[in-house]
């Protein structure tokens, strides 16, 4: 797992929310695996930072949790998106989109100059 990109501060919450929107209720390990897969294993997700982030989202009311059974019948805590979380996701995604668009315009080579 040598030189994989670290997850940027602040983007982890957005990834969690997006994952839950796409996948429906999921446990912590599932969320982590999904994020890694989606990034094409380019991210080295520090599992230790995931759980405090989940707690924070839960405290903010964006997600809710309950205990359930996993596909291979393990007890696990499942997180799901709340309505407030859906709104938060839309807002954060739009904001992120805007930021990347602006950055993309800065970084795309010489379109305007040509």
């Amino acid at each position: 797992m040598g030189d994989k990109t670290e997850v940027w501060q602040g983007t982890l919450a957005l990834m969690v929310l997006k994952t839950l929107e796409t996948m429906g209720p999921l446990h912590g390990y599932g969320i982590a695996r999904r994020i890694e897969q989606t990034s094409g294993d380019a991210f080295a997700l520090n599992y230790g930072t995931l759980y405090p982030a989940l707690l924070k989202l839960e405290q903010e009311g964006s997600i809710a949790s309950e205990w359930g059974a996993s596909e291979n019948n393990r007890k696990a805590k499942y997180y799901r998106l709340t309505r407030a979380g859906r709104r938060e996701l839309a807002r954060a995604a739009a904001e992120w989109q805007q930021t990347t668009d602006i950055l993309a315009r800065f970084l795309s080579p010489g379109e305007e100059g040509a």
Binding site: H27, Y51, E58, G61, K77
Partner: protein, 885 residues
């Protein structure tokens, strides 16, 4: 909004800890299982799969910590953790904890008692409506500065003229005889103008107080009684209002009962309130009777306004009536300030606080010293915690929490001890004095006192906690962990801190001891002061003969002569006498003095003298010394030439350089009787052992009878046992005459010196306490130092040092402490002594004998404390010591 939700969730995370901890552990475990399952599916062995999962997750402890920080409020969370840890640390060493808590509790109890006293007697507002607008008004005699009651005529003029005082009420104390019912009794009464209760803004507990008109001349007699009288004499009679009682042989209607807690401290205990009738004669008599006054300021006016205006009116009166009022002015004080003056506590409070503060400091220093020693033995523990990643801030915080917890526990115990202290203070005040103290001297250690205890405790905990906290957090991780010997030493800096603390402690103890010495010496001097008579074995009581039955001078005289003869013949009695002005009874009597042959001075310049109407046996029974001539005799009857005996002061003041015997004087401006001086007697102290001498004249009751008298009886044994003898003797002559105020003379002298002795005992108690505490402090530091120097001493002894040399080493350290402590200690004592100066009798605040003896006492006790480690040091076996690691 989001942040708010998060904080609410976080705050709620502080509670329900264990469940949440379990849930987190479960979640981590579930994560690991899921990951392990995955790994196995990818082909790892179960053991390898689990290992990899754990590795990927990283430190579960760090995860938990991060999770916890997110979950709760980190600061509060740490605090709770520290609290739990501190409790555990304190419980691990219950002996130390108990001693420390007890030490500080004793230290805190002193300030709490003092605070409770100050609050109850000085700080709490008077229990009247809007007490800040109440004033006390008195006559000020110039240039002597003596403060007396207003003359009634002046009172009426001031009351009529003033604009700044909305309402002015007059009052005075008196006694009244109540008859009818099962027994005759003398009661304490107060004569007050009808507006008195309205000015104070108080209402009766039952019925009403006085109404305007109640104090008009010729109105039917009405009275308000105290709750205590209603209880004791009328057995809570529910029909008390409107009931007629007999006071001084007049029928009076009870119109009200005051509330149980009503108290006008300037009057002391009052059983019966009666309207003060100011007659038309009072309105013009400017050398007549007095009245004290209390006033309610007009809206928007201040005490200063009133003071200016009333002084102006007084000077107008002086201009209008120069013969009488030339030297008169008025003194205006807030009523609360007057009450405070009366309590005589104002100047002593800062001194008491300084003293109990010293005790508290010493207690804190002692505990801190032990804490420092513990800090050094816990260096390894601290080093381990630091190595494991604790921040220095957390370690300081943890020490502080431990210290503060200790102090808070001590504060609670201290407040508990203060309850006993306050009780002791109340009990040490003679009953007779309590009535003049707020709440009848009852002290309640209430919420205010508890809060005070907790704040002082917490403050001390934080301040004194810093020292061990700082030293505990500043360990060197490498050195302290490497030091495997388990032996711990204190850094030089810390040793210096401890020595400084002990020096401060010894200095404070010295200052307190010297102050206590001054007060104890004063107490001893007070009992040694010559009162001019012999107070031992004297019993006194008061009689006020009924005017209707004893209407002639002969009847009064006969009664007292028979009573005194009867008493003198009873078993257990060596002599009996009667006097109108017996020392320490609180009743005084005086007259203007005119010397026959000299021109009469103006009223404002006329000297006065105390007058004592006595039976001829008085000088013998009291033990008043006859200096020259003779005392009054049985032969000085009503028909015989009028004779007087004067005291040393009167003779010296008015007959300087000549023999007063044979000279004649007049007593009272309007009196034409000439009294021939037949003898001179020694001065007596009439009010306090420290009185300045005053002129006094003795005349025989045969020649000047009086109904209100104090009878004195000298007993062969315990004077208290004579109470029934007295009642029997009085009843055998006239069973209708009530006897009141049966007190031994010694008790009455104690009423006066009581508050002083209370304070002196209080201070002595704390003086001894500090002596012991500082001895413990000295012992602790010296013992510690020499335990550290065991090896060094072993080497010295191996090289030929004798035991005496080793003892000298210990004593050298002790000497350093004492020398360093003596200058600040004496400086502090000097300051305290001067603050106490007003209380001292027969001893100056710089009495060198007391300074020397107290310093010697302290040195001796400190030496005794150092003896234990000295013995231990000299007993060191060089071989063992050298091997000692």
């Amino acid at each position: 909004m989001k942040a708010l939700r998060r904080w609410i969730a976080r705050a709620s995370g502080l509670v329900g800890h264990p469940r949440r901890e379990r849930e987190l552990a479960d979640e981590i475990e579930s994560h690991l299982q899921l990951h392990t399952d995955d790994n196995i599916r990818r082909g790892m062995t179960p053991a390898e799969a689990r290992r990899q999962a754990v590795l990927d997750l990283g430190s579960t402890e760090a995860l938990k910590e991060a999770y916890r920080d997110q979950r709760g409020v980190p600061f509060a969370d740490h605090f709770l953790q520290d609290l739990k840890y501190a409790r555990r640390a304190l419980c691990r060493d219950p002996g130390f904890t108990a001693v420390a808590v007890l030490t500080i509790a004793f230290g805190i109890a002193g300030p709490v008692v003092t605070f409770t006293m100050t609050k109850a007697w000085i700080l709490d507002p008077l229990p009247f409506a809007d007490p800040d607008t109440l004033i006390d008004l008195r006559r000020l005699e110039m240039p002597s500065g003596d403060v007396r009651g207003l003359i009634r005529a002046d009172f009426l003029d001031l009351k009529r003229t003033t604009q700044t005082v909305r309402e002015l009420a007059g009052y005075g104390e008196s006694e009244v005889r109540i008859t009818g019912g099962d027994r005759a009794e003398r009661l304490r009464s107060a004569m007050v103008t009808a507006n008195f209760f309205d000015v104070l803004g108080v209402h009766a507990g039952r019925g009403r107080t006085f109404m305007s008109g109640d104090d008009k001349d010729g109105e039917p007699c009405v009275t308000v009684i105290s709750d205590a009288l209603w209880r004791d004499r009328f057995r809570l009679d529910s029909a008390i209002e409107g009931r007629t009682i007999r006071l001084d042989d007049r029928d009076c209607t009870v119109v009200g009962v005051m509330a149980p807690n009503f108290q006008f401290t300037l009057l002391g205990r009052v059983d019966v309130w009666q309207p003060l009738v100011l007659s038309p004669e009072d309105a013009v008599d400017r050398i007549g009777r007095g009245v004290r006054a209390v006033g309610r300021l007009a809206p928007g006016r201040t005490v200063d306004h009133a003071r200016d205006e009333l002084a102006r009116i007084a000077s107008d009166l002086a201009a209008a009536h120069p013969d009488t009022n030339k030297n008169r002015s008025v003194r205006v004080l807030r009523l609360a300030d007057e009450v405070r003056l009366h309590h005589d506590m104002g100047f002593i409070v800062p001194v008491l606080f300084a003293m109990v503060g010293c005790v508290l400091l010493i207690a804190c220093v002692n505990v801190t010293n032990v804490m420092l020693a513990r800090a050094s033995t816990r260096r390894r523990e601290m080093a381990v915690r630091l190595a494991l990643g604790a921040s220095r801030r957390r370690i300081v915080g943890q020490w502080l929490v431990e210290h503060v917890l200790l102090f808070v526990a001590a504060s609670l115990l201290g407040a508990g001890l203060a309850i006993y202290g306050a009780e002791w203070i109340t009990n040490s005040i003679p009953l007779e004095n309590r009535q003049y103290l707020r709440n009848f001297a009852q002290l309640t250690v209430g919420w205010g006192s508890l809060l005070f205890a907790l704040s002082v405790g917490t403050l001390c905990g934080v301040v004194f906690g810093w020292i061990p906290a700082w030293s505990g957090a500043h360990v060197n991780v490498n050195d302290d962990l490497r030091d495997s010997s388990g032996r711990t030493t204190m850094s030089r800096g810390m040793a210096r801190v401890r020595s400084t603390l002990v020096v401060a402690e010894v200095a404070l103890a010295l200052a307190l001891l010297i102050s206590a010495g001054l007060l104890v010496q004063t107490a001893r001097n007070l009992t040694k002061i010559d009162l001019g008579f012999e107070p031992a074995r004297l019993l006194t009581f008061r009689l006020a003969l009924d005017e209707a039955h004893y209407s002639t001078p002969a009847a009064v005289r006969t009664f007292y002569e028979r009573l005194v003869d009867d008493l003198a013949g009873r078993p257990g009695v060596t002599g009996a006498a009667a006097g109108s002005f017996v020392p320490f009874t609180g009743i005084d009597q005086g007259a203007e003095l005119f010397i026959d042959g000299s021109p009469d001075p103006k009223p404002s310049d006329t000297p006065g003298t105390a007058i004592d109407q006595v039976t001829p046996s008085y000088a013998d029974v009291m033990g008043v010394r006859v200096r020259q001539g003779r005392f009054l005799a049985a032969s000085d009857g009503p028909e015989a030439p009028k004779v007087v005996v004067v005291n040393d002061t009167l003779a010296a003041r008015h007959f300087p350089g000549r023999d007063p015997i044979g000279a004649r004087i007049r007593l009272g401006r309007d009196s034409t009787d000439l009294w021939t001086i037949v003898g001179i007697v020694g001065d007596v102290k009439n009010y306090e052992p420290t009185d300045r001498p005053e002129s006094q004249a003795y005349v025989s009751i045969a020649q000047r009878p009086r109904r209100l008298m104090t009878v004195i009886v000298r007993a062969t044994g315990d004077p208290e046992a004579l109470a029934s003898t007295i009642r029997g003797a009085v009843a055998s002559i006239d069973p209708a005459e009530p006897v009141s105020r049966i007190f031994t003379m010694e008790k009455m002298v104690n009423f006066v010196t009581g508050p002083f002795r209370t304070i002196s005992t209080f201070v002595t108690f704390f003086g001894v306490l500090t002596l012991l505490l500082s001895a413990v402090g000295v012992y602790g530091v010296i013992a510690y130092t020499f335990a550290q120097r065991t090896r060094e001493i072993g080497i010295r002894m191996a090289l030929g040092a004798r035991r005496l040399d080793v003892a000298a080493l210990v004593m050298k350290q002790l000497r350093q402490f004492l020398v360093a402590a003596i200058v600040p200690g004496i400086a502090l004592a000097w300051g305290l002594g001067h603050a106490l100066e007003a209380m001292l009798v027969g001893v100056t605040p710089t009495d060198s004998w007391i300074y020397i003896t107290m310093s010697a006492l302290l040195a001796a006790v400190a030496a005794l404390a150092a003896l234990v480690p000295a013995r231990r040091a000299t007993a060191i076996d060089p071989m063992t010591a050298l091997r000692y690691e």
